[in-house]
């Protein structure tokens, strides 16, 4: 394994240093204004969409690195990870008493939150008025009934106390001594609320609002989720609010302990981190450029993303030639001066198509390079954006001698293309051979069905790219005619595709006015090896559920007239 610093590291955010998070994060005001607020917010996005980075960036630990003004404590972000060894403990299942299960689950959750608060604040210098605050130590001792260790600062003493409690209660639980546990269990109101109140009695924190940044809440056990939801229903949000990151809002339960349900708009807002559009002028396109350029700065490169990842000159020349030829066609088709928009649309739809159709007879794959291509290949997921960049940089390093490592100023287009095609090939290999063992609750049949489905979708999209008149570059689809039977067979399969990050679910306008529908975007990294145009177009193919299921079973999609199976939805913000 190499030890050089790759600026496009795409590991989970929690493995990155806080300094790195602070340096490379691109702040999106659309999200920040909700996070730095007193509202309860759910941040929803699949793996790699930037949930953890967003929460970490808003944590006190990272914001301190920005040298915020010592008096700027209006929002104090406390990062609370849920994918921890403590959260995964399941001994509560050994007890029949539902009430006890709730007690155990809440106890461990609040210990984790309290520790995160104490740890976050303990790192502040003495000027914040916490480190040598004897009053705070006395208050915590009194309120928590805790025998806090003397000789250390109050929050460090609190952390030690919490650690001791956590250790004690885990030992009790592991040995099934539940009576002892029941007596000493903490709750939100017996631990977190008094703790926050005590901190807010310190002068500099008296107006502070605590943002409890709960990451990966989908990893909480069912009782913890219910408990967390119940906290969201608290009316008084003057001193704290929750910002909760979950991978999927559809499968996350919004039930509370009492059996009620928290309501969007009333109890919380949802911020969707999923990005349906990837072109250069889209929000994601701009963010992608910002992310890459910030990362380039970390290796001393001042180039733009487009300069660092240039497209193939031949490809771009060919595309331009095809556009010109198509423009000439458009003039013949729509000669009237008032048909300018029609001509533009025609070139948009068929310019790139001409390139792929003219080269169809050639055996080799087209080149896949250029920052725009990389952005489209990401399918709107930040980790998917960074991943090929990481391996391109890695390929450059492994091909370079040590002395030239520091002088990588550009990734040649042929390297980009090789890496993208290789990653595409690997993704298919993974789908065909390893999905079954890499994903829980995925049977061999499921993985074969998914492989068939994507394979057949590839055939369909390629057929359309080379033959269809209407929306030939569509590489997304919607499903019509779902029956109860398909709900039992097809929907679980699509969900496995989603969990495997092979398929992204998006919401868009349906044909019926005012209605919205879910449509599906296969991970675009699947398509380079199939010779498809990863740029796609703003349209989706409408497929019948029966045909999709048959494709999963291995059948090809029927050759229906293009006008019947394509819904040409052009999205305003992409034009």
């Amino acid at each position: 394994m190499s030890t050089y610093k790759n600026p496009f590291e795409y590991e989970q955010a929690t493995t990155l240093s806080l300094d790195f998070v602070n340096t490379v994060f691109i702040e999106d005001y659309n999200f920040t204004r909700f996070i730095q607020s007193t509202r309860n917010v759910f941040l929803v996005g699949e793996r790699g969409s930037g949930k953890s980075m967003t929460l970490l960036y808003n944590s006190l630990a990272v914001r301190r690195l920005k040298d915020i003004d010592a008096s700027d404590l209006s929002f104090v972000g406390i990062y609370v990870p849920c994918n921890t060894a403590l959260t995964h403990k399941r001994e509560y299942e050994l007890f029949e008493d539902i009430g006890f299960r709730q007690v155990v689950s809440e106890h461990f959750m609040v210990l984790g939150i309290a520790h995160a608060i104490a740890e976050g604040l303990a790192s502040l210098p003495d000027t914040y008025g916490l480190a040598s605050n004897a009053g705070l130590a006395e208050e915590l001792t009194y309120l928590l009934g805790a025998n806090l260790l003397g000789g250390v600062q109050p929050l460090t003493a609190l952390m030690l106390f919490l650690d001791r409690e956590a250790s004690k209660s885990q030992r009790s639980l592991n040995s099934l001594q539940h009576e002892e546990f029941r007596l000493s269990a903490f709750t939100f109101s017996s631990l977190i609320q008094p703790l926050i109140s005590s901190i807010r009695r310190v002068e500099k924190f008296k107006l502070s609002h605590f943002l409890l940044l709960i990451d990966d809440a989908h990893d909480l056990n069912p009782y913890q989720k219910q408990t967390l939801n119940s906290w969201l229903a608290y009316r008084d949000r003057s001193s704290f609010s929750f910002k909760i990151a979950v991978a999927d809002s559809q499968t996350y339960s919004y039930k509370t302990i009492s059996g009620g349900t928290i309501l969007e708009g009333h109890d919380f807002l949802t911020v969707d981190l999923q990005k349906p559009f990837q072109n250069a002028s889209s929000d994601f396109g701009k963010m992608a450029k910002g992310i890459i350029e910030k990362r380039l700065v970390t290796i001393g490169v001042q180039a733009t993303a487009e300069e660092f990842f240039p497209g193939s000159v031949d490809f771009e020349r060919e595309i331009e030639r095809c556009r010109e030829a198509t423009r000439a066609d458009a003039l013949v088709r729509y000669p009237n001066p008032e048909d300018a928009k029609k001509r533009t649309d025609y070139v948009y739809k068929y310019g790139r198509v001409r390139y792929f159709r003219e080269r169809a007879s050639k055996a080799n794959l087209p080149p896949y390079s250029g920052f725009d291509t990389i952005t489209h290949v990401s399918t709107g997921v930040i980790r998917n954006l960074l991943m090929p960049c990481y391996w391109m940089y890695d390929a450059m390093i492994s091909g370079a001698d040590h002395a030239s490592e520091k002088s990588i100023r550009v990734i040649p287009s042929n390297i980009q293309s090789e890496v993208i095609i290789e990653r595409s090939e690997k993704l298919w290999e993974w789908l065909e051979h390893h999905l079954v063992s890499s994903l829980d609750n995925c049977t061999l049949e499921d993985s074969q069905h998914l492989f068939n489905l994507f394979s057949r979708l590839g055939d369909l999209f390629r057929h359309r790219l080379l033959n269809a008149n209407a929306e030939p570059r569509a590489i997304a689809f919607s499903i019509s005619g779902m029956t109860k039977d398909h709900d039992k067979t097809l929907r679980p399969l699509l969900n496995i595709g989603r969990r495997a990050q092979l398929l992204y679910f998006r919401s868009g306008p349906a044909k019926d006015e005012g209605r919205r529908e879910t449509y599906y975007v296969p991970n675009r990294m699947l398509w380079p090896i199939r010779g498809l145009d990863v740029v796609g177009q703003h349209a989706r193919v409408s497929l019948k559920a029966a045909d999709v299921w048959n494709a999963a079973l291995g059948d090809t999609f029927p050759n229906v007239a293009p006008d019947e199976n394509v819904q040409g939805v052009l999205f305003d913000d992409e034009q």
Binding site: T15, N83, L86, H88, E91, H434, V436, D440, N441
Partner: protein, 304 residues
């Protein structure tokens, strides 16, 4: 050399080595009783072997008792606890045949029977060969093992320790599920069953999921089954990490792992059960490995 024992505990399997191994066990340990844990989901697949074992036991005047259970963790735990904490087990000489025993069953059996004051031996019969095709698949979500889920420290990152043999597809899921800050991989020493090639391929795939990987060699077939090698890795990490450990390789490493968690109860055991097994998982029966479980290990846990 033969010896007498009060009971032999095993999990019914369909592999050749199960019935053949039980015969060797009977001849070697002369148990007064065989307790055969039977998973209801695999009753048909194990029927022929079970009949063979019952018949051989009867020929030798041994009582054979079946503990039928669904392969659900809570039900298995309940069943084992309810049976093994019965006073009838108090200070008995017990042999565990772990050849076809899932790790959770090994760990719970060891802890319940040690708690009952039993003198515990284990025996493992290696197969002659493994299938060159897939071994297991359709894995359920990874989980921490009841009562062996460690003592997690607040605010510390996770280190995942994987002891890998070649039935390692579950490793990827473990990495994705626990998202560790550090991955420690114990690789089985030696060239048997194509280990080297498999280890190389595995390393490439793990590298896609996590950068911070440390590998070390263990020999699960040595006398301590890799215990010392594991301790050497685990001990320095304890102050800074919550360690979650999984034994995915040679079955005997589960014994070493049990020793590790009794020495270091902070370490959690994880398990990811497969729900589909290749019926031709292995063939034949090879060498047998056996050992004595030291009762002092549990005393230490109780004192803590």
């Amino acid at each position: 050399m033969t010896m007498n024992s009060d009971a032999l505990v095993c999990v019914a399997g369909w592999e050749e080595r199960f019935a053949a191994g039980l015969k060797l066990d009977v001849d070697r340990f002369h148990p007064a009783e065989i307790v055969m844990i039977v998973f209801q989901e695999f009753k048909e697949e194990t029927q022929a072997n079970r009949l063979a074992v019952v018949s051989y036991a009867a020929e030798n005047g041994i009582v054979c008792r079946e503990l039928s259970v669904r392969r659900e963790p809570r039900e298995v735990w309940d069943t084992l606890r309810s049976d093994f904490t019965n006073s009838a087990w108090f200070q008995k000489r017990v042999v565990l045949d772990i050849s076809t025993m899932p790790r959770e069953v090994i760990w719970w059996s060891l802890s319940f029977l040690l708690e009952a004051g039993c003198e515990l031996r284990y025996v493992y019969h290696r197969p002659q060969s493994y299938s060159s095709e897939w071994l297991t698949r359709d894995t359920a979500r990874p989980r921490l093992v009841y009562q062996h889920s460690g003592i997690a420290k607040l605010g510390k990152p996770t280190a995942l320790l994987l002891l890998n043999g070649f039935d390692t597809e579950r490793a990827e899921q473990m990495i994705q599920f626990f998202e560790p800050r550090l991955l420690l991989v114990g690789l089985q020493h030696g060239k048997q069953f194509g280990n080297e090639e498999r280890n190389l391929k595995r390393g490439e795939r793990f590298g896609e999921l996590i950068r911070n990987i440390k590998t070390f060699e263990i020999d699960a077939y040595s006398t301590d089954h890799g215990f010392s090698a594991i301790v050497e890795q685990v001990k320095p990490l304890l102050p800074d990490y919550n360690i979650i450990a999984a034994s995915l390789g040679p079955k005997t490493s589960a014994i070493a792992m049990f020793r590790v968690i009794t020495e270091f109860p902070e370490v959690a055991l994880a398990y990811a059960p497969s729900r589909q097994f290749n019926i031709g998982y292995s063939s034949g029966i090879g060498d047998s490995i056996e050992g004595l479980v030291e009762a002092r290990l549990l005393d230490r846990e109780v004192q803590n």
